[in-house]
Subunit: 164 residues, 2 copies
């Protein structure tokens, strides 16, 4: 069961692939960020995100995708810009035949660190521990993407328990 | 000089292609909307928009694309959803090698109806007249897309005059 988590953004799109072994333990497959230049035209930045994400997705046998559900208090211009990158990421997943699962920031913190108000650093520390990494994953966007993937694997397990 | 205008949305994405003849007059090529079902998964709706837009774009020899620049007062959830459809539309244009031009609602009304505070109906009436249509284009999303395409053709002409 391999899942790709994505933290979309126009300048930085984080991604992280996590596999769940048969014994239930988690295995880090890969993680990183797709960077685009601010001086590049918006449509070219979206194209770069799409192409690089397609390349990453095509390299692994994945079962599903997970993306953070976004909330913006005020800045709707940022919301549109992040929405554009998010749309392109969701398209890339859909074209690979993957269902996209969406999680609130609260659900992600809850699933990874055990409680919804956990500080960012603590969530990152848990990602490091759960994936047996030597260091906290950098940058934040990649760590967030890994946390989203872990959240999906944990939530899925919970649902299985409940259905039993 | 043929331009596609797009009014992106998750449920309805309007499009309209307008050609400028050598004498400067405008010619309607086609217009319509891409509809997606609300019960369908968000990623599948984006995929449908992308595939249908690609089909439309591939049928014509286009010079550029024009998309309305969006502003939302409060509802950031809507902003993200529209942003996602917008991102997919911009990607489709970029992959066809088209540069995407963005215009404010004010610029579009100004270019089509002559003043920035023109009511919607008046803008639609001008679209009908400028494109020698028998009726006002329906639905509103298609009319908005045509207005955006006309705005780009007019703005481009203005820039040419200025540069002379």
């Amino acid at each position: 069961m391999a899942v790709i988590g994505i933290d979309p953004g126009t300048a930085l799109t984080g991604y992280g692939i996590v596999n769940e072994r048969e014994d239930g333990s988690l295995q880090l497959i890969c993680y990183g960020v797709i960077r685009t230049e601010s001086k590049t035209r918006p449509e070219s930045r979206l194209k770069k995100i799409y192409i690089e994400l397609n390349e990453i997705i095509s390299q692994y046998k994945l079962d599903s995708g997970a993306v953070e559900r976004l909330f913006f208090q005020r800045n709707t211009t940022t919301a549109i810009s992040v929405g554009q990158a998010r749309g392109v990421a969701m398209l890339s997943l859909a074209q690979a035949g993957l269902t996209v699962y969406e999680y609130n920031p609260l659900e992600i913190k809850q699933a990874v660190a055990g409680y919804g108000r956990a500080p960012k650093k603590q969530v990152q520390q848990m990602v490091k521990t759960l994936l047996s990494m030597k260091e906290i994953p950098h940058p934040d966007d990649a760590a967030d993407a890994l946390a989203t993937a872990i959240c999906h694997l944990h939530s899925r397990k919970m649902l299985t328990y409940i259905s039993i």
